[in-house]
């Protein structure tokens, strides 16, 4: 936490920039009002924060800027319900609350020297973004980096400028797809799991990291199993309704593990060992 004794107490932060990523996703760059706290703030890629719109409530979002770029923290918010709608009404200069960092993170040290395969759908690129940028900032530590990313339509793709950048880099293999044909779209079409099967990346020495809608994850996991990825090399970040974010309010559990505190990052191997409600 941000050095607060009280884990419920958010840090006040000012939104310095709002980026309209897609028709229903906005990114917010925020800076703590307390400059000292901003300077001393540390987190790991994959950790999340709770954003407060006071009077409306709190919701959980991954910090999708990497710890290697600390001028601001970035969160991307898909409009869904009460808090996310309120966040979409926030302007640059407005003050919100941030409780961060919460949860665990991607085991990026264990991934050193390996090939990395990112598979994302829609807003699911947000948690991957922090790790992608972290790896690009430490490019020498990792071997091949492949990113399969898809959304419903081209306008629904997040981080369009960055996608362009990654596409141009020779040390990143970016594969973009949208669900169906779309005027002006010349790249691939088809669902992410299908593209994964077509691409058939090698499982050897490769860590796969996936995040997206539950249905996409389900089929991606099946696809990875077919490609013979061992369960411990498949990493995903989970979602559950959250409130406290610190393992106390009791709602986000899978058996005795709490997604907010023991997660959200789990390997498929870990998940298989937990009782599932599904």
């Amino acid at each position: 936490m941000t050095g607060n004794q009280n884990p419920y107490l958010p840090e006040l932060a000012t939104v310095t920039k709002v980026i309209e990523e897609t028709p229903n996703i906005k990114s917010f760059q925020v800076v703590f009002n307390d400059a000292e706290k901003m300077k001393n703030f540390t987190f790991e890629p994959g950790q999340v924060g709770q954003l407060s719109v006071f009077g409306v409530g709190e919701s959980t979002f991954v910090i999708n800027s990497p710890p290697t770029r600390m001028e601001y923290l970035q969160f991307s918010v898909m409009k869904a319900g009460e808090v996310t709608t309120a966040l979409h009404g926030i302007y640059e200069g407005d003050v919100i609350g941030v409780r961060a960092p919460l949860g665990n993170w991607f085991p990026y040290n264990d991934m050193k020297g390996k090939n990395i395969l990112f598979i994302g759908g829609g807003i699911g690129l947000a948690p991957l973004r922090t790790l992608i940028l972290y790896m690009l900032d430490n490019r020498a530590d990792y071997k091949d980096i492949t990113i399969i990313y898809g959304s419903r339509t081209p306008p629904d793709l997040c981080y369009k400028d960055e996608l362009k950048e990654w596409e141009e880099r020779s040390d990143v293999n970016l594969i973009l797809t949208v669900d169906n044909e779309f005027p002006g779209w010349t790249k691939r079409t088809g669902f992410v799991p299908t593209v994964l099967k077509e691409e058939a990346p090698k499982a050897d020495d490769t860590i796969a990291i996936t995040c997206g809608p539950p249905i996409m994850i389900k089929f991606v996991l099946e696809g990875l199993a077919e490609l013979k990825f061992p369960e411990e090399n498949i990493i995903t970040t989970l979602e559950a309704r959250m409130k406290c974010g610190i393992g106390l309010c009791g709602r986000c559990n899978l058996g005795h593990k709490y997604i907010c505190k023991d997660g959200p990052v789990f390997s498929l191997k870990q998940l298989k060992e937990l009782p599932s409600d599904e």
Binding site: Y8, L12, F54, E58, A240, G250, G255, K261, P275, D277
Partner: protein, 361 residues
């Protein structure tokens, strides 16, 4: 300071009022036919006749409390801009929980592990817990539903209490369990108790023997296979109404909700008890719900108390056998019966599948 004492019955009021000199006392008060833990005031009637309808949990972990207050303020030189000011209050008065039962006091120890023994301790609970002295009344015997002895407790266990009192000879034999408890023993109306000790011991043994233990010796392991069986849960829990009675009355349930409640320019972020038996407890905005069906929710409740929590905390069970969830369940669901099936060494999911092919919602 003595750690044994005696309190004549007619001095109860005096005792409670003395406890209240520098502290808020929560005591079981009779209102109509209901016994509720209330902040004691002299107009209230304390009743120790039976365990209260509610546990005293709310004295340390209020059903609703303010985590923080916020206020929007316009910046003087830039009226377009709103500043937010946050205020937190953890300045709680000293308190005494008087007249809870051993299962109630043990309930706090279950919550302590989660709320205090963690790197993200709950400052509100922690502060209140430290500030509170727990004076517990041992039970003369069980009431309907009680099964404390089946979960490592009993009508005279001291875990979680600072003082325990046992009914003897028209009064109460008091024993201090902690240093906080010893301080209580120095109150002037407490008489010498040594001569009552043997009688109290006998009374407590008698009470303990009278409590049912629903779990046969050695049956302390949950069958993972039966626990995973949808047929089993569908069968045992079809009658459940998905209300919050069992969890809100439980001395160990601690789940909560956090909501913002605003009034124009000021407001509070409050936390209020929630229940894993409610459908929206786990409902995500997308409409996805990992526990949409009541039997999944019930499985979580039983799992949490008898399976997940013990896995996390060295075998400790998150149920103190107070029996309230059984006693007050609208449809008489009996958690001890269900855990009994799960712990049966001969538990067999197939036996449940035969009865019903399709576990409804």
């Amino acid at each position: 300071m003595a750690d044994k004492g005696y309190l004549p019955k007619e001095k109860i009021k005096e005792f409670v009022e003395a406890l209240g000199k520098d502290a808020t006392v929560f005591a079981p008060c009779l209102e109509g036919d209901t016994i509720i833990f209330r902040q004691y005031t002299p107009d209230k009637e304390i009743s120790l006749d039976r365990p209260a309808n509610t546990p005293p949990k709310g004295a340390i972990y209020p059903q609703c409390e303010t985590l923080l207050s916020f206020e929007f303020k316009k910046e003087a030189d830039n009226p377009q801009k709103m500043d937010v000011e946050l205020k937190v209050n953890t300045d709680f008065p000293k308190a005494v929980v008087f007249g809870g039962r051993p299962c109630d006091a043990r309930g706090f120890t279950v919550i302590d592990r989660v709320f205090i023994d963690t790197d993200t301790a709950d400052p509100y609970y922690k502060k209140r817990r430290e500030n509170t002295t727990i004076v517990t009344k041992c039970c003369n015997g069980p009431v309907a539903g009680c099964f404390c002895v089946g979960v490592g407790g009993g009508p005279a266990v001291t875990e979680g209490s600072d003082v325990v009192m046992t009914e003897v000879d028209g009064g109460y034999y008091l024993e201090a369990v902690t240093d906080k408890g010893k301080a209580v023993m120095s109150l002037p109306m407490i008489q010498d108790g040594a001569s009552y000790e043997a009688k109290a011991k006998a009374a407590n043994e008698k009470a303990t023997a009278a409590v049912r233990n629903p779990f046969p010796e050695g049956a302390d392991k949950i069958s993972a296979e039966l626990f995973d069986s949808g047929d089993f849960w569908g069968n045992v829990i079809e009658k459940c109404l998905s209300c919050g009675a069992c969890t809100f009355l439980c001395p160990t349930c601690y789940c909560f909700n956090i909501t913002d409640e605003q009034a124009i320019t000021t407001g509070d972020r409050i936390r209020s008890w929630d229940s894993c038996m409610f459908q929206h407890f786990t409902l995500e905005t997308s409409g996805h719900n990992p526990r949409p069906a009541k039997h999944k929710r019930f499985r979580n409740r039983v799992g949490h108390k008898f399976y997940y929590y013990p896995e996390k905390y060295d075998g400790a069970i998150a149920c103190t056998g107070c029996g309230r969830c059984i006693r007050y369940c609208p449809v008489s669901v009996d958690i001890s019966e269900i855990v009994g099936y799960l712990r049966d060494p001969k538990a067999d999911p197939k036996a449940w599948a035969a009865k019903k092919e399709d576990a409804k919602n």
